[in-house]
C-alpha cells in the first residue's frame, strides 16, 4: 500500500479532488481504512459538511487517534484544514489537535455575507515548499463559514472582514482553507507542491 490516499470522511464531492490529482498524473485512492491511510505516502483530508459530523465519522473509523500520529505529508483542505486544530466553534467540536487554537465563525455583516464565497489572494506568504511558485498575485477559490486563527504555523493569510489562516503547516501537517482542486492553475500549483513534499 502506498501512493496518495484521500480520506473518505463521509462527505460528498471527493471526485473533484480526485480529478484534480488525476490532471497532475496521480491516481489517488479514496479510503477510510486505517491501514491504508497509515501506509500511504501522502494523505489528504478533504472536508465538506460540518466539523461535528466529520469528527464523528473520523472517530467511528478509528482515524481520530491515527491522524495526529502520521509522519508522512498530510494535507487538510477547507474543513479538513480546520479539523487539524484543537477545537471548532462549529458544533462546539473537539478536533484533531495537531495545531493549537480554535476555529471560529466568520462574523456576518451586510457587506460581508457568510459563507465567504469567492476568489481571494494570499497575503504575507512564507517561503515554504508548499507555496513554491505562488505569489500574492495568485487567486484561490474559498467557500467557508468558519476560519482558523493565525499563528506560528500560518504560511499565508487571507482577509475577509478579518485576517485568518489561508495556508498552514506544522511539520508534515499542511492545510489550506481554499479549494485547490477548484482554484485553476494556482490551486493545481499548491497540489503539485504538496505531491513534491517528502
Amino acid at each position: 500500500m502506498s501512493g496518495t490516499v484521500i480520506i473518505d470522511s463521509g462527505g460528498a464531492n471527493l471526485a473533484s479532488l480526485q480529478f484534480a490529482l488525476e490532471r497532475l498524473g496521480v491516481a489517488a485512492r479514496v479510503s477510510a481504512n486505517a491501514g491504508d491511510i497509515a501506509a500511504a505516502e501522502r494523505v489528504i483530508l478533504p472536508g465538506v459538511g460540518s466539523a461535528a459530523d466529520a469528527m464523528h465519522r473520523l472517530r467511528a473509523a478509528g482515524l481520530a487517534e491515527l491522524l495526529p500520529q502520521l509522519a508522512q505529508p498530510v494535507l487538510g483542505i477547507c474543513l479538513g484544514m480546520q479539523l487539524l486544530f484543537e477545537h471548532s466553534a462549529e458544533g462546539d467540536t473537539d478536533c484533531l489537535g495537531v495545531l493549537p487554537g480554535t476555529v471560529r465563525r466568520l462574523d456576518p455583516s451586510i457587506t460581508r455575507p457568510v459563507p465567504h464565497m469567492g476568489w481571494n489572494r494570499l497575503h504575507e506568504l512564507a517561503n515554504d515548499p508548499l507555496l513554491k511558485g505562488l505569489g500574492p498575485e495568485a487567486y484561490f477559490y474559498f467557500v467557508h463559514g468558519y476560519v482558523a486563527p493565525l499563528g506560528a504555523f500560518t504560511l499565508a493569510r487571507t482577509h475577509y472582514g478579518e485576517d485568518f489562516s489561508a495556508v498552514v503547516r506544522h511539520r508534515n501537517f499542511c492545510g489550506v482553507q481554499f479549494h485547490p482542486e477548484r482554484s485553476a492553475a494556482s490551486g493545481a500549483g499548491v497540489l503539485a507542491n504538496f505531491l513534491d513534499l517528502s
Binding site: G11, A12, N13, L14, A15, S16, F19, A20, E22, R23, V48, G49, S50, P108, I110, T111, P113, V114, P115, M117, G118, W119, E137, Y139, Y141, V143, H144, G145, H179, E181, R182, S183, A184, A185, G187, A188
Partner: protein, 244 residues
C-alpha cells in the same frame, strides 16, 4: 442544458441550441470564468431528474467551481451530483414545492453547497417567485413574495441565492438593479445577479450599485458579445477586484 445540449432563450422562452456542453465548459474555463452554472431547464417541468452522465465528464476537465441545477428533489439526487464532482447544487422549483428540502440538504452537505435559485418577476403585487419557468406552458406564479422567500430560504440553510430577474432575462439591457438592491437588503448569504447582462458596464453596476457577490450571464458569453477577459479588464478599470 436541454437534452444534452446548451440552449439559451429570451425571457425564459424560445430556446435555441448554442453549443456542446464539453466544448463550452472548456472554452469558459480557458477564458477565465470564475464559476460555471449548468441549468437543466427541462428537468423539473417534465417531472424527472437531471441527466447526470455529463456531470462527471465536466468535473474531469473543469478546475473551477461549478454548480448543477435542475430537478434535484431529494438528498439522493443531490448526493449523486456532488459525488460526480459538482461543487454546488441549485434548487428552485422543488424548493418552492417542498421548502424543507433546503433544510435537509443543508444539514447533510453544508450550507456552502446549497444554492437556491429564485425566478423573480415584478408584478402589481410586488416581486413574486415563479415556478417551472423552463417550460412556458407550465410556468406559474408560486404564490410567494420574493423578499419573504429570500428570508425563509436563508433561515432554512441556503448558502447562496441566485436571483434570476425574469423581466430582464436574455434582453441585455442590464441587471434589474432596483430589484437586486431590495433583495440585497434582506440577504446575508452570497447573492448572485442573473438576467439582463448586455455590456461590461452592467456587470460593474451590479457589483457597485447593488452590492452583489457575483454576476451570472449566459447570452452575452455564448454569443461572444462580451469576452470574459475583456470584461474582467473593464471591471478592474472600474475599481472592482476580480481574478485576472
Amino acid at each position: 442544458m436541454r437534452d444534452g445540449q446548451v440552449v439559451k432563450g429570451v425571457r425564459f422562452r424560445d430556446h435555441r441550441v448554442v453549443g456542446d456542453i464539453m466544448a463550452l465548459a472548456e472554452r469558459y474555463r480557458d477564458e477565465g470564468a470564475d464559476e460555471l452554472v449548468f441549468y437543466d431547464i427541462t428537468a423539473s417541468p417534465q417531472g424527472r431528474s437531471v441527466d447526470r452522465s455529463w456531470v462527471r465528464r465536466v468535473a474531469r476537465v473543469l478546475d473551477i467551481p461549478f454548480c448543477v441545477a435542475g430537478g434535484i428533489r431529494s438528498i439522493a439526487d443531490a448526493e449523486e451530483v456532488l459525488n460526480a464532482g459538482a461543487e454546488k447544487i441549485s434548487i428552485n422549483s422543488p424548493a418552492l414545492t417542498d421548502p424543507a428540502l433546503i433544510d435537509a440538504l443543508s444539514r447533510r452537505f453544508g450550507a456552502q453547497c446549497v444554492v437556491v435559485g429564485i425566478d423573480s418577476e415584478r408584478t402589481a403585487a410586488g416581486y413574486r417567485a415563479f415556478q417551472f419557468t423552463g417550460d412556458p406552458s407550465r410556468a406559474r406564479e408560486s404564490g410567494r413574495d420574493v423578499l419573504e422567500w429570500v428570508r425563509e430560504v436563508q433561515d432554512r440553510g441556503a448558502g447562496e441565492i441566485v436571483l434570476n430577474c425574469m423581466g430582464s432575462d436574455g434582453v441585455r439591457r442590464g441587471y434589474d438593479l432596483e430589484q437586486l438592491r431590495a433583495v440585497r437588503e434582506v440577504c446575508r448569504v452570497p447573492l448572485v445577479a442573473s438576467g439582463g447582462a448586455g455590456a461590461s458596464e452592467h456587470f460593474a453596476a451590479a457589483f457597485r450599485d447593488a452590492g452583489v457577490d457575483a454576476a451570472l450571464a449566459a447570452s452575452v458569453f455564448h454569443n461572444g458579445v462580451i469576452a470574459i477577459g475583456a470584461l474582467k479588464q473593464a471591471l478592474r478599470s472600474a475599481g472592482i477586484e476580480v481574478r485576472p
